[in-house]
Symmetry: C2
Subunit: 329 residues, 2 copies
């Protein structure tokens, strides 16, 4: 690490996980880059992708809002989700990003313009600028194509374990993302859904190579809960094992695990979806150090995000998570 500059931290992921990590980390004097999955194919992002022919904006939007230093008003605007009419389900920020991509012809330019409006500090780097779909092959040989179809398991249908993930078509990475990974002091992988937020980034050509070359400390923040359909009944070691299929063995320096159980009511809610806390069964003989902390947020389910879509109701606490990460620098 260059002693004259701020520590460079790269967060690899997407969705709420990256939002949470960035929200906590931006309070420290660090240089942040969010490397963001571009494989979302459902919800507002999926519709904009299909209808306007743009790249999926949702994960980018969440990172932009997290890195924003603008007024609450502007951040509220970007996360505003329409509840009625034809706009129903879209967030304003998604529409803004997609419209700017259409008018400028480039998502990079769109991100840069919105970055100015939202006064972001740091960099949001889509992992790729190419259109591609996430696919998984299950152990029973079944192939599922499209992020949203991997994600939409409803807890009633039985689905066998994921054997491997791949992109269709193969795509190359955004040089900004590769550069950030290569020169980082610390790389935080996660938190986020293993197969739909984290692994898609690792499948893009050049990313795992850059991770190997990078001298950064590599930290994996485990999810708090399993996710039905992609990590059903997964323990901590199952998560790490699957992740290592893509980044390689002996790559992780630290694994962050939560050690505080959610309350009974929360657990009952998750049980309805066959989801449960990620059990820490990691053994100390591993090549990485296990950091076991209370990382959860006490605040539960916000009313304004309780829309039609099903959402987790426990979260990483941005401040606890950020402190645990910063302590590793």
């Amino acid at each position: 690490m260059n002693k004259n500059s701020k520590p460079r931290i790269v967060v690899i992921g997407g969705g709420t996980g990256s939002f949470t990590a960035l929200t906590g980390l931006k309070k420290y004097p660090v240089n942040l880059t969010a490397v963001v999955t571009m494989m979302d194919s459902g919800g507002s992002s999926g519709r904009l992708r299909d209808e306007l022919g743009v790249l999926p904006p949702g994960d980018i939007r969440q990172c932009l809002v997290a890195l924003s230093h603008s007024s609450t008003l502007m951040r509220d605007l970007f996360t505003y989700r329409f509840e009625d009419g034809n706009l129903k389900g879209h967030t304003f920020g998604n529409i803004f990003l997609s419209t700017l991509e259409k008018t400028t012809g480039s998502i990079e330019k769109a991100i840069s313009e919105i970055g100015k409006i939202l006064k972001i500090e740091g960099t949001v780097a889509p992992v790729t600028f190419s259109k591609t779909d996430l696919c998984v092959e299950l152990i029973d040989g079944k192939i599922i194509e499209g992020e949203t179809h991997i994600d939409d398991a409803d807890g009633k249908k039985k689905r066998s374990r994921i054997k491997k993930a791949f992109l269709k078509p193969k795509v190359i990475s955004n040089p900004t993302a590769i550069n950030a990974i290569t020169h980082a002091d610390l790389i935080l992988i996660g938190p986020g859904d293993l197969y739909t937020s984290i692994i898609p980034n690792l499948l893009v050509g050049g990313v795992t190579n850059a991770l190997k070359k990078s001298k950064a400390k590599k930290v994996y923040a485990l999810n708090l809960m399993t996710k039905y359909g992609q990590t059903t009944h997964y323990s901590a070691s199952d998560h790490v094992q699957d992740l290592e299929k893509y980044i390689g063995k002996n790559m992780l320096d630290f694994v962050l695990v939560n050690n505080k159980m959610p309350n009974k009511k929360t657990l009952e809610w998750y049980e309805k979806f066959a989801e449960e806390p990620v059990l820490n069964n990691l053994e100390k003989i591993n090549t990485f150090k296990i950091i076991s902390n209370n990382l959860i947020k006490d605040v539960i389910l916000k009313k304004n995000i309780a829309d039609q879509q099903r959402r987790s109701i426990i979260r990483h606490d941005p401040d606890k998570l950020a402190k645990a990460v910063i302590d590793l620098l």
Copy 2:
């Protein structure tokens, strides 16, 4: 007029007419206020009004873009019209205004925030902050409710002349609009559709009174073409006569009329919709001065506005119109 300050010009209207006037006038060292109709009930504005419960944003958006000193990119973004999917027909700027109105709870705040992003110079003052509908009573006694229904005459159905316009319910005016009118040096009424862009402003409680009190020079910029369903076969004097029903006799100081005929091809296009140039039959014995100039723009129909909606293909030239107005100061 206060010699130490810039001349204060108020443009009363909405839609493309106000856009054109403001685009030309902003090049002069004047203090501009756009008093804008809030009675649009069709198209993108109408849908947002119905679905989100907001005030119609379209006329405000056009004035904001006209007064913008920001990059072409931002102005392009605001006027971007979606062509596919559920967003089809909406302009981005309309969605932006409506979302901000929802998140801030106030169209005033929304205008102020967007004004900053678009770097506007001048003021956009909605004529009212209350929800109301424009209605007209025809000579045959028929009542038409809603701006869009007045506007949607298709040139095939015969419709009798408009007897009077009124608002349902009656609403009070925005004090900012009244203040601007009262203290203006010059008030430009129009150009714009007489019944759907100009008169709605005059029906709002307090506006005609402020016009009477104001020592400003009052200028009426006549439309170039008649509009089927509201000013079918109207001559210049028909326009003035109808306008004077609302502002009162002897109120106008100047009437601006175009004296350059559009080319034959353009006229043929309009003939299909039973629309024709506004004939200048104004007599010099009137209480106002007639300014007859070439005011039209040679550039015709832009491809990117040739969407589903029917639009005029001749326009006032912003520079010629502005010069004619500035000469009257």
